[in-house]
Every structure is written in C-alpha cells, then in structure tokens.
C-alpha cells in the first residue's frame, strides 16, 4: 500500500486557501467600524472585555453576506470549530449558540495558519501545567496523552516541567480577567488541535495527495512538455463563445421538461411519494410509453438509440424500409467494441459473414474505400477494426433514416397513443407512509437467464411492479 508521503508542507498548502479566507473574514469581523460590536461581558463575577454574544456573530454574518439565519449559524459554527472564536461560558463545548452566551476572538498567535501542526512539546507543556495547577484536573484522555508523551519525549521532560512552572508563575502575576482569558484561549486551541475522542476532528483531511501546488521542477524536461502541450492546444479547433453558450442554453431549455428535479415528473417522483409508478411506466417493456419519452427520441439520434424501446421501434420502421440491416450491423459493431476481448475474432468473423461479404443476406451499403480498408483490417481483427464502417452506417442512418422516421406515421401514431400519466393522488392520510416495494436485483435477472441457458443482452433487465415488499 502506498501513499505519497507528502510533507506536512503540501497538506498545509491545501488548507491554506480556506484558512486565508476564514482569517480575512475574522479580521473584518474585528474591524472597529464595520465589525462586530465588542463590549464587556459578564462571566459569573468577572467582567471580560472585548467579548461578543453568539447572537451578535450570527447577525453580523447575515448582514455581511446576505444569507439566511441557518446559513449564518452554520458559518459561525465553522469559525468556532476551527478555533477562531471560542466560547467563554462552556469552554469545553465548541458550539455557537445564538443567544447571549459570550464569545471572544482567538489571538492570531493561536490561529491554525500560524501554529500548525501543533507541536508535541507544546502539548506536553500545556498538560504539565494543568497537572501542576491542580492535581487530578486532567481528564481521562488527557491523562493517557500525558503518559504517552512522558514516555515518548522523556529526554526533554525536565525542560517541559520547567517551562510549565515558569508559565504558571508568570500567569499568577496577571489580573484575574486576563488569566481566565489566557486559559480559555489556550484551552480552545488544544480542543481544536487535540480533540477529545468521540468529538469531531475538524482538521482531519484524509490521505495526502500530490496536487498541482507542489513544487514542480522547472527544468528542460518540464518546459519541453509544456511546449508540446501548448502546440497541441493551439492546433485545436475552437468555436466562438456565443455559439457554444447559445447552444448550451438551448439544450437546457429543451431538456427542462424532462428534468424531474427542476419540473417534477408525472405521476410523481418516487423518492418523495414512495410510489414507483414513474419507474414502472418508463421501463423497457411497457406496452404504451409516455409522451415525454417518445418526444425525447426526437431530440437526437443518440437519444433514440439509447432507449431500448426507441431502438426497437426504429428497427420496426427500418424493416418496412428494407434497411434494417444497417441498425443490426451497428449493434453488432457495438458488441465487438464493448464485448469480451476473447470473443472478438469470432464476433468479427460473424459480422463479416452476415454483413460484409458480397452477396451476404444482410449486406450493408458501405462506400468502396471504407469497405476496402475494413476488409484489409479484418485480416488482423482487433476491437476497433470495424469502427470506420460503423461510423459510416451510423451517419447514414442519422442523416437519412432517422429524420424520415420522425416524420413517419409509425412515430406519429406512437406519439398520439403515448400517455401522459396522471399525477399520483395525495394519500388521504399524509402521515401514513406508502409501502416501499422492493424490486428484483438486476443481478438476479441475468442469473436466471444464465440458468436457463439463454444468451441475454447484458444491458437489459426487468423491474417488476407489485412485488411483495421485503422488509
């Protein structure tokens, strides 16, 4: 198992952009004119200066970013979780409360960007201080960490204890309010960097990855690659922005009625109403398709071919026109391209016998140049040997048969017969949930087919309605 052992440097760089943005916001929060109004907050009997309430923070965020209450609370929570703001009332609970609970800004000294990763030595000193100040004040997990550190950095333990004693002595000379503040600040910092087990580790970021930000060696090799890459890019065909964007807009408009998330769908979205009629009515083997489905076939040739029912209908039409072999050939080529490698030679041979031999039963009409090239390639069959021929037939169908199909009676009649499903009636008792029916796994369908010994198209599967639910 390998992971790129990237230096702490690289990961920190990944975090940096978010931290910089957060810090910028924190700084603007502390702006004397436009920032949050700080005042003295009462904490039991002491008065803490330069503090604010949870409600203040949320209010400021709402005004500054024009967002909702929920979002402002959420953002405020992030600041508390990352240690930029810490609570005074319940210091061990890093949560933002939208009331008059007091909060304070953390000193830049303790910001994530300045002191990350937290050093073991500092943690040892902190725990030692706590231990000395009041024997037994260390919580269970802290005790474990303390003992572990004692073992690990035993050689500097005298230094640790000495530092701890020094810092305690220095703090005794401060005013009570300052002492409380300093204590809270330090505690908040360590809660973020050494979270107690079971709580959310905000600075967890997953395995290290080599990103584009890591220093690339600017040597000749690098520049040669860049030059090659730029040359290829220059040679690309580009289209005007207006054309691209206009066509994208048109595409969105065309597909909007078909987008269930945007416009809903009839009869209803199964996930919302627990009613699977929508899936049943659009499955492959349904007798009468829905109007939207049939309409979609007219958007592009690919849409028609991607829908198994559409493909079947198109085949029926082609049979009437005596050009069904085109579609069959195309399908056979797809099978070669995407099927098992071991079966390629025999499949290609089949295709040749059925479609390409002069005088074959389902001979396809390919131009002589492509035919020559294909026949040459058949001597050494590989996965993509039929690509040219397939392309030729595909475009033939697309330009000729497909538009005529859309104008044909067959298509128009189907569209007229197609149904618009009725919206699912809202149940009389809205709080009663409908039974969620399960469907047979697609794996089951093909397994059954294999058992029967029938060759089954691997892309098809059935989904039955009305199966007894399995709970």
């Amino acid at each position: 198992m390998t992971i790129n052992t990237l230096s702490q440097d690289g990961v920190q760089r990944q975090q940096m952009s978010c931290l910089t943005k957060m810090e910028r916001m924190v700084i603007s929060m502390q702006d004397p004119d436009m920032g949050i109004k700080l005042r003295n907050q009462r904490l039991l009997i002491t008065v803490i200066p330069h503090a604010m309430t949870g409600a203040d923070i949320v209010e400021w965020l709402i005004k500054k970013c024009s967002i909702s209450d929920e979002e402002a609370l959420h953002i405020g929570q992030i600041f508390v979780k990352y240690g930029y703001i810490y609570p005074l009332k319940e210091p061990r609970n890093l949560i933002l409360k939208v009331d008059d609970s007091p909060y304070r800004f953390q000193m830049p000294y303790y910001w994530m960007s300045t002191r990350w990763p937290a050093s073991e030595l500092d943690y040892a000193i902190y725990l030692a201080k706590k231990n000395i100040r009041k024997q037994g004040e260390l919580i269970e997990y802290e005790k474990e960490c303390y003992n572990a550190l004692h073992k690990r950095i035993n050689h500097t333990w005298d230094f640790v204890v000495m530092q701890a004693r020094e810092q305690l002595r220095a703090s005794k000379q401060r005013r009570k309010a300052d002492r409380i503040v300093l204590k809270c600040q330090e505690q908040a910092y360590w809660l973020v960097n050494r979270p107690p087990p079971g709580t959310l580790d905000s600075i967890d970021h997953g395995p290290e990855r080599r990103t584009m930000n890591t220093r690339v060696q600017l040597n000749a090799e690098f520049y040669k690659k860049e030059i090659e890459h730029n040359r290829i890019s220059l040679a690309r065909n580009r289209v005007k922005s207006s054309i691209c964007l206009e066509s994208y807009v048109k595409y969105c408009e065309q597909y909007q009625p078909h987008d269930p998330i945007m416009q809903g769908c009839l009869p209803s979205i199964p996930w919302i109403t627990d009613d699977i009629m929508f899936w049943n009515m659009n499955c492959e083997t349904v007798a009468v398709p829905t109007k939207l489905r049939v309409e979609r076939w007219s958007f592009s040739f690919m849409e028609l071919l991607n829908d198994p029912m559409g493909r079947k209908e198109f085949l029926t039409y082609l049979k009437k026109e005596f050009s069904a072999e085109n579609l069959c050939f195309w399908q056979a080529c797809e099978d070669v391209r995407h099927g098992e490698t071991s079966k390629i030679p025999e499949k290609v041979d089949e295709v040749y016998k059925q479609f390409l031999t002069p005088g074959a039963s389902r001979w396809v009409n390919i131009d002589s140049k492509t035919m020559e090239k294909t026949l040459e390639g058949l001597k050494r069959p590989h996965r993509f040997v039929l690509d040219d021929a397939q392309m030729h037939i595909y475009f033939l169908m697309k330009k000729d048969s497909y538009p005529r199909y859309l104008k044909s009676d067959l298509y128009k009649n189907l569209f007229a017969r197609a149904i618009v499903p009725q919206e699912t009636k809202k149940s009389v008792f809205p709080f009663m949930r409908r039974q969620r029916h399960s469907s047979p796994s697609p794996a089951l369908a093909t397994q059954a087919a294999e058992d029967d010994g029938k060759a089954k198209n691997s892309n098809s599967f059935k989904s039955n309605s009305g199966t007894a639910s399995r709970r």
Partner: protein
Amino acid sequence: MPNTKYGLTKRFHFLNKYFQNGLSSLHQNTPRLREILCVLVEMAAQPSDTLATLKTESETLKTKLEEERAKLHDVELHQVAEKIEALGQFVMKTRRALKGHGNKVLCLDWCKDKRRIVSSSQDGKVIVWDAFTTNKEHAVTMPCTWVMACAYAPSGCAVACGGLDNKCSVYPLSLDKNENLAAKKKSVAMHTNYLSACCFTNSDMQILTSSGDGTCALWDVESGQMLQSFHGHAADVLCLDLAPSETGNTFVSGVGTDISRNVYLKTSLITCKQCRLYDLRADREVAIYSKESIIFGASSVDFSLSGRLLFGGYNDYTINVWDVLKGTRVSILFGHENRVSTLRVSPDGTAFCSGSWDHTLRIWA
C-alpha cells in the same frame, strides 16, 4: 548562457585546428587527446537548447494560445443567460438516509436501474444498497482501507472498487446468501499508486481508472490487461468522467477534486476549491460559482439532467445548488455532519445521492 557559449566556441576552434592538421598529430599528443575527448563529451552532454530558450518558447506559445482564445471570446455566459427566467424557490429534502458504514463514505455510484447504489468507505467496506427501501443487499470487505473509488457495472451484475491497494477489483454480485463475494473477486487494474476513480465504459467488459500515479488507463475486465494508457498529468489524477459520443468514447480527467462532464457533451465542470465551468468547444473557462459566504471548497459535483442545475458537495458539510446559466446559488442544503465527499445524480435525474464523512449517504429530491 553567454559564458558557456563563448567557452564552447573557443574550444571548438581548438578542436577544429587539430582536425585540420590531421589526426596523425593527435597520436603524439596524448594529454591533448584527453582534453579533446573531454571537450567532445562536454559538447555531447550540452543540450542543444538552453533552459532559457525553452522557457521563452513555452511562454510565447502560451501567450499565443491566450490570444487565440480571446479572439473567439465574444460573450459571457451571464449575458447570454439574461433573457432566461430565473429559477424559483427550491425545496429539496433528505428523502432517504442510508446508514450502515462504519467510517467515512468516500465514493458512490448509481446502478442503471435508478434505485440501487454502491458505496465505499474508509474502513474497507463496499456496500450495495437498494436506496429506495434502504435495504443493504450486498457487502464486501476489501483487503485495504480508504476505498476511494467504486463503480456499478452497466448490467447491474457487478461492482468495481479500489483505493490504497493500487488496484481496481471487480466483484460479481451473487444473490446466494452463503456465498462470499470476495471469493469471486477479479483483479483488473494495477497502478503504482492509489486508485482515485474508476468507471465502466459502455459495458461490463471495460473499466477506465485514474490513479495517484498521474495516469489513467483503460482495462479489459476479462483478461485484466491494459488496453490503453493515458499520460500527461503532472500530479495525482483525482477524478474522471466519461461520456459516450457519436464518434466514440471520450473522457475528461482532472487533478482538481472532481469532474463532471455535462450530458451536453460540450462542457465540463472542474472543481479545485471553487466550482468552475469549462466549455470544451470554446476552450475556455466560462463561469465560476462562488459566494463570499462559502469558505470551503467543493469535493464533488454533478449536473442535473437538463444541465441547468449544478449540485456541489462541500467540505463545510453543506450542499450548494447552483443555477449554471445565471451563476447564482439557488439553494443550500444542510444535513450532513461532516464533509460531503461524493455526490451523484441518479440516472433518470429524479434525485441525487450524497455521501459524507459522517458515515451516511443521503438521497435528496
């Protein structure tokens, strides 16, 4: 580097003189011979283009590229989108919560039947769910942790997954309760670093993978052989998305955190920290989706069926829904309790599923 050039020229003249005098004189002068050989070796080792010339060439090409792109840049997306109606209020809620993973969910994929999902997590477990009923149908334990990639086969009969084991393995889904899925496992892809993403191409027989070793590759499932390899990235390839087109299959790969190729086939979206829309035909970035209040980056994106909406799962535990054309944020969805690591819209566009480091998956509609 003028100094070296001068030095080289001087020595070249010196060499030339000797050749003009005939090689015979060289035999009598062995120390000289050594010096000549040194010069020859030095000349051979000297690259024909110096670093500086390469750098200037690269930069001139880059400027030219920018010029070419700018020539065709005649309109901005939001200008084109002015005439379109704005979207109304958007209400999406969690409709299903899939609980069962013991650790961070890293990846998910939908089955073509529109209701089944495969998901993989940090603890090495890969679970197949019927998301509609929230039943777990299959579970596989991988021999490694951090299973960062998983994919459902188009037929619905197998799943592929991989991660820190540097491999992509395919597990056929058996319905026999007593059968251990791991027994029929097939090792397909081998990379030299972690597997970041995988997906089946049009059939169960081929898999496309991307890896932390900076490459992507196409594999034949049956034999486990590599069919094609794709190089070019300078960093870990973190994502890929496939779109079959009329002329064959094309795919996009990225070193940003996620990529989603719009169904429209002409645009793709890349996220690095912000969501950006890149039009492949116009060959430029056409939009950036950002907001002052969004501090963290997106980890995963996907388009709705029509391409009008963009769903982004972010590292601040939320999901932001963007109006792709207008560039505005339509809605923000709360619910996850840790970062959203993966997000996919269902094949028929009726819902989307998000997987998070809070061990759960949620279906939104």
